[in-house]
Amino acid sequence: MTTLLLSLPVALPLLAALLAVAAARQAAGLAMATGFLVLGLSVWLAFEVAALGPITIALGGWEAPLGIVLRADGLGAGFLVVSAMVMAVVLVAAQPSFEDQGQESRAGFAFWPLALLLFAGLNTAFLSRDLFNLFVALELLTLSAIALVAIGGKADAVTAALRYMVFALLGSVLFLLGAALAYAAHATLDIGLLSQVEPGWPMAAALALMTMGLAIKTALFPFHAWLPPAHAGAPAPASAMLSALVPKASFVILLRLWFDLAPELASPLLLAVLGGLGAVAVIHGSLLAIGQDRLKLIIAYSTVAQLGYLFLVFPLAGGAGAAQPWSAGAWTAASFHAFAHMLAKASMFLAAGLFLRAVGHDRLEGLRGLARAMPIACFAFGLSAISLMGLPLSGGFTAKYLLLTSAFASGQWGWGLVLVAGGLLAAIYLFRPLNLMFSKEGAAASLTPVPRWEQVLPLLLALAAVLLGLFSAGPFAFLQIGRPGAAAEGLLP
């Protein structure tokens, strides 16, 4: 049974993608059904993991190093559940824009298989323990993401997709080079087996290459230039997937590389560089977001900043003082931050898509007075904003609290100040749209009406982001299942 539970989240979307090409008329329904089915399976899997501990299976009975191993621990299963949640809602929200209404449209035909392929790549990245398998997952994910960016077919979108492609190709080849090096040195690609060998310089070089590749894919500063135009240029449901889900896959792999595979290779310099780039991303991304005049660009630059927080986990992990009754605070906080960002950012892009449909453009001016016309979507936007700013009670707050405590307890104040400044900057760039929604003077008179049920979808995700903060004890404990030792002790001895 567990074999099926682990392999179906990977296999089902792949199968559905093929079927969606074959039966284009039924693609939308098929995709939505797959979304909910995988969500159900992931929740089931999470309960199994909570009951039994980490579950490992060898596909087809071939054990590592020859076969491919899938493993669901707290981290992997947690990401699986949250991303399936986002995916299920986003697929439902995409239905009005992409459902095949009789006439042949390329976007309507391509969207569903691409979304399903992206889903499959994502789930593989969360569950796989094999470097080459992870490479394939990342490629599947990235290529479908790029195709989704270009799906509108406008020149701007195609340019953004090609820029994304240039970065992504470089990132994937660096990752592959690292994997090849690791194999050359230790004749295995399994993270579990690699973590048991004594790492030498080939491993260090391999890790450096893979880290660089993954940092490019996660759009870490200074490799972030591709992200905002790509995420802002795609249709809203695609943006939600791209911004909320895609960068998290490469980040999870990065976590596994450093915390599982070879924590002993970490050096103070490496931690300072990764944390420093993250900090610069937080400040730089936020400042750029403040300067934007289009809602979707603000949200996209916000992603650059929010991804920056994730990298603070490297210097802060293990930074809990004697006064704290918990361990692995910062390491868990990174996952919490990722979860909260996934939910809130998807909600925000979906809401932005509805605003765009109602107003006809996404310049900030158009938001004027929308609080009255579209109260539910505006409320969802506001709730997501609370989580992104890290205000209580939200998943973002729990993450920020844990990171801040680690920073102060370990005397690394600088990172703490970055967190606080990031929150305030987020308040500034998110306040502009919110403020306009609440000022009715000069509001556009004619709006395209948006059905209520569509406005409820972003609200569901935003509520989930808030509830994650209110009930964080369960997810916190869940993430500890099968966590690596370095998560609690930090990367430096």
């Binding site: 003082g321 009754p325 606080v420 609440f438 209110l470």
Partner: protein
């Protein structure tokens, strides 16, 4: 049973809020019943809890968020002082707001956030740990912003922007202070604060300053008060709530918690951080009064009066002597009752007679006698004329200053009383002895929904002064609290 009551008391405003959001605009009756029902149940619960606390029963509810991070709701005497005030004034303000807003737009949104705001205030009062306090403090900021911008016009949107521009950096400072402290001592529980001495004196002083800065924004301490007069752009019931119960009181309450439940009187005195805070409060008292003198609009004058009056609470808390504590705590209640009366009346003047400027008040006393009597009671209380409640607080504060060896406090109080007289008496003179100009618009008091709350709170401010010696007066309760803190 013990864990249920704190949650229940929070739910009395939280549940109506969440239900009201989903009501259609036209469901006036359902909205009113939900609001009033919640407020009434809350008052009953508060009365029950008062008996419980007086008998020494502890009520505590806890929700774990992460290991070491949890919400703790706990009922103590100080909690009840604040909760009872907010419960009574919430009921009054709700009745007033229903009449004031009538059938205006976006009422479900308004009353939803209104109840949420009260829920946040209640949670703040119930908070048993620093981080719980912070969480509700932030929720209060977030839930009041939609109320401030409710009218959706340029002025209120600007006021909302200013409010957040002050509040959010303030709460960032507060969060840093809390985490700095907790990263060294572990979670700080108000009932049993850990040993803060693990931190150096300099760190403790810096944390104290950051904390005072964070809550000082809400308490409108000079120079962090700039948002408060602008927030007058909100509808009158919101101003009443902001000034008397919710926001500024949350700040003052935070200062009380900081000095008495986190640092403790002994450590505060040892670090010598009380006196600078007292001096700042004294300066704010005088400065607020001076600014109030210069205002020509009724609501603006009342707003600066709030800046001044709330600092009495901070002053009392910072002096930390027995009488000063009592004076400060009891002023938390007294100022609330008197200020809300004044704002109710200001709203009545505006709605029923179109009066917003002070020079329009001429002769309104004869046309709106009940409103004007209430206004007079509130104003006299602010000046400190017996037997209105304000006199009692000022008397205790003065005694407290002498007791703490800071005789200048008496001077500040006297000066402030003069200044208060300076800006309230001309208003009263105009109201009662001025002659209305011939082209003054028609005025009447035919709005029982607005008048009854004003009369009730005016009567309460009078009663709190007249029966200050009674066993269940705010003064008696404040004395009970003070007795718990003093060695």
């Amino acid at each position: 049973m013990t864990a249920v009551l704190p949650v229940l008391i929070l739910a009395t405003s939280l549940v109506p809020a969440l239900l009201i959001f989903w009501l259609p605009e036209r469901a006036w009756r359902a909205r009113a019943w939900l609001n009033l029902g919640g407020a009434a149940v809350k008052i009953l619960l508060v009365v029950f809890l008062m008996v419980e606390v007086a008998n020494g029963v502890t009520h505590e509810a806890r929700l774990d968020l992460a290991p070491g991070l949890y919400l703790l709701l706990r009922v103590d005497a100080l909690t009840l002082l604040f909760v009872s005030l907010s419960a009574f004034l919430w009921l009054m303000t709700t009745i007033y707001a229903i009449a004031y807003l009538g059938e205006g737009p976006n009422l479900s949104r308004f009353f939803g956030f209104f109840s949420l705001c009260v829920a946040a205030t209640t949670g703040l009062a119930l908070a048993g740990t620093l981080i719980t306090f912070f969480i509700f403090f932030e929720l209060l900021t977030l839930t009041t912003w939609p109320l401030v911008v409710h009218k959706e016009n340029a002025k209120s949107v600007k006021a909302g922007r200013l409010y957040l521009a002050y509040s959010l950096p303030g709460s960032a400072a507060l969060l840093v202070a809390i985490i700095w402290l907790e990263s060294a001592t572990g979670p700080v529980i108000f009932a049993e604060p850990g040993d803060l001495r693990v931190l150096s004196d300099a760190s403790l002083m810096a944390i104290f300053a950051l904390f005072a800065l964070g809550v000082g924004v809400k308490a409108a301490l000079f120079p962090l008060h700039g948002w408060l007069p602008e927030a007058m752009a909100a509808p009158a019931p919101v101003s009443a709530l902001l000034h008397a119960v919710a926001v500024v009181k949350a700040g003052a309450f935070g200062i009380v918690r900081l000095i008495y439940d986190v640092y403790g009187i002994a450590l505060t005195a040892e670090l010598g951080v009380g006196l600078p805070l007292a001096l700042l409060a004294a300066f704010t008292i005088l400065w607020g009064s001076l600014r109030a003198l210069q205002q020509t609009e009724v609501k603006k004058r009342l707003a600066f009066s709030t800046v001044s009056q709330v600092s009495y609470i901070v002053l009392g808390a910072a002096l930390a002597g027995p009488y000063a504590v009592i004076g400060g705590l009891v002023h938390l209640v007294h100022q609330g009752l008197m200020k809300i009366t004044l704002f109710f009346c200001a709203g009545l003047y505006d709605e029923r007679a179109g009066i917003t400027r002070i020079d329009q008040l001429d002769g309104i006393g004869r046309r709106m006698p009940l409103t004007s009597i209430c206004f007079t009671i509130g104003a006299m209380g602010m000046i400190g004329i017996p037997p209105v409640a304000g006199f009692v607080s000022k008397f205790y504060l003065g005694l407290g200053g002498l007791q703490a060896g800071e005789p200048w406090v008496v001077g500040v109080l006297a000066a402030s009383a003069l200044l208060n007289a300076g800006y309230f008496l001309p208003m009263l003179y105009r109201i009662w002895f001025g002659v209305a100009s011939v082209d003054a618009p028609a005025a009447d008091e035919r709005s029982p929904g607005m008048l009854v709350p004003a009369v009730a709170t005016a009567a309460a401010s009078l009663a709190a002064g007249l029966f200050a010696g009674a066993a269940i007066s705010p003064l008696a309760w404040a004395s009970l609290i003070a007795a718990g803190y003093l060695p």
